[in-house]
Symmetry: C2
């Protein structure tokens, strides 16, 4: 049922099976946060976890923390917590480095798994760092061994060829929120003998995923968006078990060694997903992510998706139903089944409007050239937040607040 | 003057110009910590800094933290704090990733700066992850373009040849503490037309360094040892200004882009050291390191070195002067000028002895096959700690405590 009044939104919040999860977060007063797709809100458990990690584990335990508090096990332990969120069985996910560094490892691994094929195929609108990393690898290896082919998303499937080693796509587009059909694309890729690498930055924690079931080969994802691990939280990577005996990656640091503490001069990769580690993990950031991941233990991702869709639909309907907002152009797919958990509207004064909205305490973000982006994090976004956000947007437009606010150029991280 | 009694050690502590810095650390009671070369002790300022970062900057500021609290500036800001500790002028140091990942960037950059040369030359006893990373790069590039040549350290200088692109060495050996002569080696390397890459893991914060003055090309270093940034703290890297206009690295993620937030599909590296960034930095771990780095603002590194030498000399003299400890074999150079800030002794029962020492609250560490390693961190290690540690070691041997303690195999991080 469409929510047409604020009272109906409040009623929907009362009936929300996920409502109690909001209490696990610390949110600033007088703020409507619609940017959890960029940086997730603070789980209340993080502060105490970090204090204990700093003062007890590090301060009192000192070097013994690696064993006594199993810091050394963090990359695998956190990987196991993320695995069920992305439809992965055990021993296939590890937390390591950043999305960018992990992409490098997996692209290099993919090229090695498909000798004789040199193309990394992606869409022009893929998230820039994914493309930059592929470019860096190709420049290092030379065109004979590695070529990045970028096509319009409409031509993606038809561009998969005999020379395609790996197709690299971001499941949810960072601008429009448009979803790739993971199952269909992965099948096409496999039919061509190539490997499929999904970037789950805007997917993990936003909707149910089925990596194992769809036979996905490789994936990376982000700890700081819907997983709420904190600014720049460590990223994760997935390598399907079927590739464990063959896959290898070039960032072969000591944490990926079969016996890191034997201090042998020759690299011998650890079995399976452990071999995708590189250097010593930044424990404090891992522990914050660990505290954040405990929130997901009893969450039904089908409910997350259902609420995400209803939040997004409500937002779109309220914007589209308002004459005051007639100039806002939906940049996201109108069909909920084709969207992730954020929605983008274009407006020629987009940047100034978003600044004015933020001044009112409604935090979304802006993406060049003219997109206002609003993210809905079902664990803490309420229906009434959506209602109030649209009311504020109407206020900004009615009062032409975007004309008077003076703001600097944007400098913001997704 | 040699310290021959506990009273003399206490007197030396009273006269220590660095004594006040110990108050900046939180150390566990009844513990003598001689493993700061592996994981630095906790600076008291870290807890409050992290609490503010979590609860205020992230919790209240949310996405605005990237601008309002300049998270985006952390890699450069922390680099500027480290620069004076390693003898580097401004704009040449950045905090990023791990030592391993940074080595990969710099080795690849070095090979590209020396086209036609394929050899990465190092010593067999270099820290394993340095060798593993070079192996990974060479396997990816093939022997024609990249070959790792490992030689005994005595043959290092004579092994630099026309085909040497880069010499990669760890300034202070992780086992023995032996120092390379940075100035002389760097000069030899340059005479052969090669580049010099120093790993400063056990050097930064332990003794004065002169990277600029010696014309060092490239360097990496560790945030979690003498810099006290916390377990797995982010690492740093140095690229001499002379290379900024030519050097490029393959891990070209969005944070190294000239305009990360323009979201252009093509990578264009940022000028200078900024281009050596890759992914989004783990802010919480950076902030802990930032709090730790403030401790160095008024520290005279000449005093640090002087104290480090005297602590080490006292330790060695006390061990060598004790009949009870006659079976301990000094594995470190006897000349202070040839050592970093830790000392290693070999003993056939080394592992069990270290466990027994730890049971007594004296924390050093053990390295295969038989090395007991003791690190001296001049900001918080006292002369009386050295005295007491040797007394405990004598106690362990006199009571044969190493025979009775039952311990598991080691699993420890340097």
């Amino acid at each position: 049922m469409m929510l047409r009044t604020r009272a109906q939104c409040l009623e929907a919040d009362r009936n929300d099976p996920l409502a109690e999860h909001r209490d696990a977060f610390v949110l600033p007063p007088e703020t409507i946060y619609l940017d959890g797709n960029s940086l997730g809100a603070l789980p209340g458990a993080v502060d105490a976890c970090l204090r204990a990690t700093v003062t007890e584990q590090w301060g009192q335990g000192l070097i013994r923390g690696w064993n006594d508090h199993d810091w050394i096990g963090l990359p695998m332990r956190l990987g196991e917590k993320i695995a069920p969120l992305i439809g992965a069985a055990s021993d296939q996910v590890i937390v390591a480095d950043s999305v960018s560094v992990n992409l490098y490892k997996l692209l290099a691994a993919a090229l090695a798994l498909r000798p004789g094929r040199s193309v990394i195929l992606s869409s022009e609108d893929n998230f820039p760092t994914d493309l930059y990393i592929a470019q860096g690898l190709c420049e290092l290896l030379g065109k004979e061994r590695c070529e990045l082919l970028l096509v319009d998303r409409s031509r993606l499937v038809n561009s998969i060829g005999n020379n395609t080693a790996v197709v690299m796509l971001t499941h949810v587009d960072f601008r429009s929120g448009r979803l790739w059909d993971m199952q269909t694309i992965t099948r096409h890729v496999h039919e061509a003998g190539a490997l499929m690498l999904w970037d789950l930055a805007h997917s993990a924690g936003a909707l149910p995923l089925k990596l194992d079931a769809y036979g996905v080969d490789l994936a990376v994802g982000c700890g700081y968006k819907y997983l709420n691990g904190g600014p720049g939280a460590p990223a994760f990577l997935y390598v399907a078990k079927t590739h464990h005996s063959h896959a290898a990656q070039p960032l072969s640091g000591w944490m990926g060694h079969a016996q890191p503490f034997a201090f042998s001069p020759s690299y011998e990769p650890a079995q399976g997903i452990r071999g995708f580690q590189t250097g010593t993990p930044p424990v404090l950031s891992y522990r914050a992510l660990e505290a954040a991941l405990t929130l997901w233990e009893n969450v039904d991702l089908a409910q997350v998706r259902e609420k995400s869709v209803r939040l997004s639909e409500t937002f779109i309907e309220l914007v589209e139903g308002s004459e005051t907002l007639a100039e806002f152009d939906l940049n996201s797919p109108r069909q909920a089944s084709e969207r992730g958990s954020h929605v983008a509207f274009a407006h020629p004064f987009g940047y100034a409007i978003m600044r004015a909205l933020i001044d009112r305490g409604v935090i979304g973000d802006f993406r060049e050239p003219d997109l206002l982006r609003f993210g809905f994090a079902p664990l803490y976004t309420r229906y009434v937040d959506v209602w109030d956000a649209v009311e504020h947007l109407r206020g900004v437009m009615l009062n032409r607040e975007y004309e008077t606010s003076q703001h600097q150029a944007p400098k913001r991280v997704t």
